[in-house]
């Protein structure tokens, strides 16, 4: 432990900045990888087919259908989100 540590002064040398940045980025990327690894590989095609079905009724953009698989406690949760804008809603009423 250095004198700076004892006095509670935070030393801001470049190596400690590197260490802090790395800890954050590595934790982030590991979590992202983990999520990706658990996800079944049919998710992209499921999303594509859902888009096509929804488009029979509403004109939506590709990114309006969001789909994800998550593990919560012991359960696999498949989450589907279709966000509609005001314009889309008018679309629906006309049909």
């Amino acid at each position: 432990m250095s004198l700076f540590d004892l006095l509670g002064i935070k030393q801001k040398n470049s190596a400690s900045k590197a260490r802090e940045r790395l800890k954050i980025i590595v934790a982030h990327e590991r979590a992202a990888n983990q999520a990706q690894m658990g996800a079944p590989d049919y998710l992209p095609s499921l999303q594509q087919e859902l888009l096509e079905v929804v488009r029979k009724y509403v004109d939506i953009a590709d990114d309006q259908v969001k789909i994800s698989m998550e593990k919560r406690n012991e359960l696999e949760v498949l989450e589907l989100n279709i966000a509609l804008t005001e314009a889309d809603k008018n679309d629906l009423n006309e049909n």
Partner: protein, 269 residues
């Protein structure tokens, strides 16, 4: 029983080829029958570091394509018994490393050698994946610098998912960290990540530290692996690393600044 060792890093220019050559040479000097294989198809340079570039006739890809056999492609080292080099092709690209072909060559090498050291290309694409696919052990070469550490973490993730051992749910690939181009003086000044920092972030055991050393450039100039510069810091670091690898106990000498002997010898102003 043979052991397949991949020398890998993600990032380029961190010391994979230097390490592959020095480590394979040190294993052979200890009497182990060893082959070092260049997976860097298209950018081969292991042959240069090993000093056998003028003896390359057939290469790894020729063997995969059955244009030549393994015995024709293997180059016997002129300095050490028990050491062979399998050079990469300079003219092809990494897609020539087919899974079937690499499997066949690796099976043949396992019949013959105790240690198969695979020098991985940089990156995380096909070439790097082929180099690690058959590994039992990985030497992860990292420089104490943010992008190198981050890439190493990525590679560690791939070792756990994209290898034969992972696919067949066997024991995982055994991982060893080698921190290369280390400058203890800069660590002490606080402008280089310490060995502890790197090990702490990557969370794999440290096999050894290789100091930044003039001996490495001299070695590559001459085409003689740095292992032969027995009295150089980097040469001794690789001997230590290899000794630890085969189970000997060696103190970590190169984490601290070398006062006296080495600094007098290698750091003339």
């Amino acid at each position: 029983m043979s052991t397949v060792i991949v020398v890998t890093s993600g990032k380029g220019g961190v010391g994979k080829t230097t390490t592959s050559a020095a480590f394979a040479t040190a294993l052979a000097l200890r009497g182990h029958s060893t082959v070092v294989v260049d997976f860097d198809v298209g950018l081969r340079n292991l042959d240069l570091i090993m000093g056998c570039e003028r003896r390359v006739v057939y290469d790894f890809i020729n063997v995969i394509n059955e244009e030549g056999n393994l015995n024709q492609a293997l180059i016997k080292d002129k300095r050490v018994e028990n050491l062979y080099i399998l050079p990469a092709s300079q003219t092809r690209d990494k897609s020539a490393l087919t899974q079937v072909g690499v499997t066949r060559v690796m099976e043949a090498l396992k019949e013959r050698f105790e240690y198969i050291v695979c020098d991985s290309p940089a990156g995380i694409e096909h070439g790097a994946q082929m180099a690690m696919y058959f590994a039992d052990v990985a030497l992860i070469v990292t420089n104490p610098e943010v992008s190198s550490v981050r890439d190493s973490d990525r590679i560690i993730g791939m070792l756990a998912s994209k290898t034969l051992r992972a696919e067949q749910s066997l024991d995982p690939v055994k991982e060893h960290l080698i921190i290369s181009r280390y400058v203890p003086g800069r660590v002490n000044k606080g402008d280089m990540l310490s060995a502890d920092d790197v090990q702490d972030i990557l969370a794999i055991p440290l096999l050894g530290v290789v100091p930044e050393s003039d001996a490495v450039l001299k070695a590559s100039n001459e085409g003689v692996p740095v292992t032969f510069q027995e009295d150089s810091d980097a040469g001794q670091a690789y001997h230590d690393i290899t000794a630890r690898f085969v189970g000997e106990d060696r103190p970590q000498r190169f984490i601290q600044e070398q006062k006296g002997f080495f600094s007098r010898l290698f750091h003339h102003p």
